[in-house]
């Protein structure tokens, strides 16, 4: 597997070097290939009844808006025997979103294939639906840096506890919700769990919540999704390419984030099993748990 990238030393060194150097915001004359690439955001799971796949186009780098929606596409997902059709929303604000209402309850272990037709172009991707372990419990603890007085602000670390499924290629993603509001929407906020060196009994910090964003009695929900090794790499490379961009301590050159889509499309298609667990938040003691 692709090991988690070591970005911490580089980030800290850059911080040190920045104290000696300067940073200047610039606008560069970049080659513009607006609309050239199809971007697919497809995360299908067995939790929600409504599943969607979003199609957009790539945009100019300096364009402050997201890519334009891709309408009138044909979007299907199949396991080889049953085909699930995704229909584009008729609501203007949801253009480019393609919905399906029955795939979620029909997911079974195995390979799923995405097919997209737009104009005269065809794109495909495939993803394996793999199981996810049951979450045993959710706990919270005062953040280490807060507890040590290293940072002035109060943060709480949220922990997931589970027993891993036997296997050598297990990868998971954990989302955190407070009162059913997703706190880790962006790719760089999600907690990734790779199987390298993972113990059978796992206790991991999955997110740090600012003290002003949570109070006693709030409902904490953790959502753990099975993902492929490629999706795991997608997120780690997303983090690396967006956080280490231009860092003179970076070892590897800038590159496109990997994808499992064909024909030069970007983004990722993933089919996941999901397990969830909830707990009421109580202000923890300085000792964890």
């Amino acid at each position: 597997m692709n090991p988690n990238k070591n970005i911490l030393p580089g980030t800290l060194l850059l911080t040190a070097l920045l104290s000696a150097g300067c940073e200047k915001e610039v606008i560069l004359d970049l080659p513009d290939q607006q609309g050239k690439y199809l971007v697919v955001e497809g995360n299908i799971d067995d939790l929600q009844a409504i599943q969607w796949i979003r199609l957009t186009t790539s945009s100019s780098y300096y364009d402050v808006t997201a890519g334009l929606p891709v309408s009138n596409a044909s979007v299907t997902v199949t396991d080889g025997t049953v085909e699930f059709s995704f229909q584009e929303s008729l609501v203007d604000s949801l253009k480019g979103y393609y919905f399906n209402y029955n795939i979620s309850s029909n997911l079974t272990r195995g390979m799923y294939y995405l097919r997209i037709s737009t104009g005269d172009k065809r794109y495909t991707a495939q993803s394996e639906f793999r199981p996810v372990p049951r979450i045993d419990s959710v706990t919270a603890a005062l953040n280490f840096f807060t507890g040590m007085g290293i940072i002035d602000e109060t943060y709480y670390d949220i922990y997931v506890h589970f027993r891993d499924i036997p296997g050598n290629d297990n990868h998971y993603l954990v989302n955190t919700y407070i009162n059913n509001t997703l706190q880790t929407f962006r790719p760089t906020q999600k907690k990734l769990i790779g199987n390298e060196g993972l113990f059978d009994n796992v206790s991991l910090s999955v997110s740090s919540i600012h003290g002003e964003d949570i109070k006693s009695g709030d409902m904490l929900t953790l959502e753990m999704r099975s993902i492929s090794r490629e999706k795991y790499n997608f997120y780690t490379d997303f983090l690396y390419q967006t956080r280490m961009s231009g860092n003179p301590f970076a070892g590897a050159p800038p590159a496109n984030i990997p994808t499992n889509l064909s024909e030069g499309a970007m983004g990722f298609f993933q089919v996941s099993a999901v397990s969830t667990a909830q707990a009421r938040f109580r202000h923890p003691s300085p000792d964890r748990n």
């Binding site: 970049l30 290939q33 760089t188 301590f249």
Partner: protein
């Protein structure tokens, strides 16, 4: 895999004994001796010894030793060395002659600071091309960064040499990577030549005697790197009197002491320097700043002992460390150590040898004491090199040199201890690598038609043996983007596994076109077995070295070059045009999204392919008189082609820069005042720029179209310095001091070190791009003293 016993050392001793001839050759007469500094007695390596009548000369070796073969008769021999007055001697040969010659420093004799006395026409006469040297006097005059004189910045002024950018002492030679330069300090390899994130080099100018850069026509005595050899000699110390040199600058101070241990027989040199920004930080009321460390130091030592007229021993060492730490949470230390022990023996007037033991070490240590994210990473690379070189003057036109060496490489990428999460294993051991590298070479310099034609030809044979302890991996390489490990096995100590053989022919030809001009051409094959995984843009001091293995073949470079050399104004101005083409085989690059830091499967992140570079270099330099200068222009292109990168299409190397121009000019206004200017222009280097962006789950990421298909803005900069020498010319004062005032990047040009594409921290989701750069102008003041 069949293991073999290591029987290298007996073989080494056997070959060494075999090559030592026991008697002298009758027939022609020899003139031999040692060239030294008249004032200090220090040996002068690289001095030219020239017989005008034959249009033939030699260069003194690292022990200052020379030998020439001449027929019976009366001749004038001219001795010269950069920064010294030329010296002529008339000899009448009828027997072998031993003569030691002392040259007088030009600055001393003229009683003013003048960079002068370039070896008269040596650039025209020698067969080797692509060799350049810069005197320490010139280096001291080049406007410096923060007042810190830097040896490597002088190298970067030479045509064919490109530098990595501001705050970076790395350099690239004729399309090569930084790790393809063999940097030697008294023959010992220096793995990382930088201090403080590449702002300064490890070479303390007080400890440097001489430097020579070979970018082509490289002697087969050198091996192990593809692109160039930077051979730096440490000062051996004043044999006649004690001397103290030093300097106090705004960020560091230096002090060196040298003198005789036994007058005329032995000398020593001790030099050290240290930056002291951290000492001022300790006075800060802010606790975090008080706990910040950011300094480096280095120490040089050399002892030179003349046993008798035929035997000399040199012992030298270097040790340097950089220490950084922030708020007691994060620390980063790295540094080099080298050691050299050399015995120089003149067996006969025609036959001499050098026997060396050389040690090199580079290591780094990163520690983070930051709670759940604590980690520690220690890594090192060492080598031990046993080396023997012989030189045999077998007639008046021919010198045969040969030698053998064996290197034991020991690479320990280290163990990473991490407390990142309680659920994970807390230690990752990166596989060690060990190898033996042996080289044997033969080189002959032969003159024809009264040395009108000078042919130097030879070859180097090399063997690289992968041995244990270590670990090897077998990959399934079916998917070019992802090599899957299918097996791994440990390498046992003392057993030899993969073996690579190399044959490296080297040929140089010089055709004299009269007293002032010559045409030269050369062919070189170079092989590199130990290399570094690091992108060229990176200034990180955590070098990741790796060796040839079952997955990584040795790199090979074939270079052809030709040049026209001409001197003007009685050899006071030299000019040259050189063109070259270099073919690179088995070069490696990091795959898209590759991870080379702390990755035990480092090899799986690299792909192998080809590269090529070609260019033309123009040089005019004047090293003598009140006005001195170096002007160089390089036009070059460097590309790579690796099937698994950039869709298999050729792409520019990161260090590709079409135009590179540098101009240095120094002018001595009076005995007490001199000034110098330095201007550099180069095309922007190749970088990977976005052509758009994608949105995914509310965040954007750049989209790139091709590796290194974009360019940073052109680089240019003007620097200036003044050197004031109070009391210059007022008698023969023992104590002298100079004030050096420098201004780096006078017009404050923003020359980006790197460009970043990331969302605005103030406005998440808004794309932005920014340059990281060193602001200018940057002043520097240094007070130097000598007594």
């Amino acid at each position: 895999m069949i293991g073999k016993k290591v029987f290298l050392i007996p073989l080494y001793l056997l070959l060494t004994a075999f090559f030592i001839p026991q008697g002298s050759i009758a027939g022609e007469y020899t003139v031999s001796g040692i060239v030294t500094d008249a004032e200090t007695g220090q040996i002068l390596a690289g001095a030219t010894v020239f017989i005008p009548e034959f249009q033939y000369g030699v260069i003194t070796d690292s022990a200052g030793y020379f030998k020439l073969s001449i027929p019976a008769g009366e001749y004038i021999i001219v001795f010269s060395f950069l920064g010294y007055d030329s010296h002529e001697k008339t000899i009448v040969s009828g027997s072998d002659i031993t003569m030691d010659v002392s040259l007088t420093s030009a600055s001393f004799s003229l009683n003013e600071v003048v960079v002068s006395a370039q070896a008269a026409s040596s650039n025209i006469e020698r067969s080797g091309m692509g060799m350049m040297n810069v005197s320490i006097e010139t280096i001291n005059k080049i406007p410096s960064f923060l007042g810190e004189t830097d040896v490597l910045r002088a190298v970067q002024l030479l045509p064919g040499v490109q530098w990595a950018g501001d705050g970076n002492t790395g350099f690239f030679v004729r399309g090569g990577e930084a790790d393809q330069n063999l940097v030697l300090f008294d023959d010992a390899v220096v793995y990382n030549s930088s201090h403080l994130f590449n702002f300064f080099s490890v070479f303390n100018p007080d400890a440097v005697e001489d430097l020579k850069l070979y970018k082509g026509g490289i002697s087969p005595s050198y091996g192990g790197r593809l692109s160039s050899v930077l051979d730096i000699s440490m000062r051996s110390g004043n044999m006649e009197r004690y001397e103290i040199n030093g300097g106090i600058g705004i960020i560091s101070s230096r002090l060196s002491v040298e003198g005789p241990v036994r007058k005329g027989r032995s000398s020593f040199m001790l030099a050290g320097r240290r930056t002291y920004a951290d000492m001022f930080l300790r006075l800060s009321p802010d606790e975090n700043r008080r706990n910040t460390r950011l300094y480096f130091y280095d120490l040089n030592i050399k002892v030179n002992y003349v046993l008798d007229e035929k035997n000399r021993i040199f012992l030298s060492g270097y040790h340097g460390r950089d220490h950084t730490a922030f708020s007691e949470m994060f620390g980063f230390d790295w540094g080099n150590s080298t050691g050299s022990l050399r015995w120089n023996r003149m067996f006969t007037s025609r036959f001499s040898g050098n026997f060396s033991i050389l040690l090199s070490n580079y290591q780094f240590n990163i520690t983070g004491d930051i709670g759940p994210a604590s980690f520690n990473w220690q890594s090192f690379i060492n080598n031990i090199n046993l080396k023997t070189d012989f030189s045999f003057l077998y007639n008046d036109n021919s010198t045969l040199s040969f030698g053998i060496n064996s290197i034991l490489h020991m690479l320990d990428p280290g163990t990473i201890s991490a407390g990142i999460e309680e659920a994970y294993a807390t230690e990752k051991e990166l596989p060690a690598g060990n190898a033996l590298e042996h080289g044997v070479y033969l080189n002959n310099e032969q003159g024809f038609f009264d040395n009108l034609l000078l042919l130097t030809y030879g070859a180097r044979g090399s063997v690289f043996q992968v041995t244990g302890p270590g670990k090897q991996f077998i990959y399934n390489k079916t998917d070019p983007t992802h090599w899957e490990v299918i097996n791994s096995f440990p390498l046992e100590r003392g057993k030899i596994y993969d073996v690579f053989y190399g044959f490296e022919p080297r040929v140089s030809l010089r055709l004299s076109l009269g007293a002032n001009s010559s045409f030269k051409t050369s062919y070189n094959r170079m092989i590199q077995y130990v290399q570094q995984a690091q992108s060229a843009q990176s200034v990180a001091p955590y070098d990741v070295w790796y060796m040839s293995s079952n997955n990584i073949p040795p790199q090979v470079a074939d270079q052809v070059a030709a040049g026209y050399f001409r001197n003007f104004l009685s050899d006071r101005v030299e000019a040259s045009i050189e063109v070259y083409y270099k073919d690179l085989g088995n070069i490696s690059d990091v795959i898209d999204n590759g991870d080379i830091l702390g990755n035990e499967l480092l090899e799986s992140q690299l792909r192998i392919g080809d590269g090529w570079s070609y260019g033309a270099e123009f040089l005019i330099r004047k090293d003598e008189g009140r006005f001195t200068g170096i002007a160089g222009y390089t036009w070059t292109r460097t590309r790579r082609k690796i099937d698994e990168i950039n869709d298999g299409k050729p792409y520019y190397a990161p260090n590709d820069r079409k135009h590179d121009f540098s101009l240095y000019g120094g002018y001595t206004v009076s005995g007490a005042l001199s000034m110098s200017l330095n201007f550099i222009f180069s095309s922007g280097r190749a970088v990977t720029l976005p052509v758009g962006k994608l949105y995914y789950q509310g965040a954007f990421a750049p989209i790139y179209s091709g590796r290194n298909s974009g360019r940073l803005p052109d680089y240019h900069r003007l620097d200036m310095s003044f050197t004031l020498t109070p009391g210059r010319g007022e008698g023969n004062r023992r104590f002298t001091s100079t004030w050096n005032f420098s201004l780096f990047n006078i017009y404050g040009r923003i020359n980006p070190i790197s460009v970043s594409f990331a969302e605005s921290s103030d406005s998440p989701g808004i794309p932005r791009s920014s340059f990281f750069y060193i602001p200018g102008p940057i002043p520097g003041i240094t007070w130097n003293f000598n007594f």
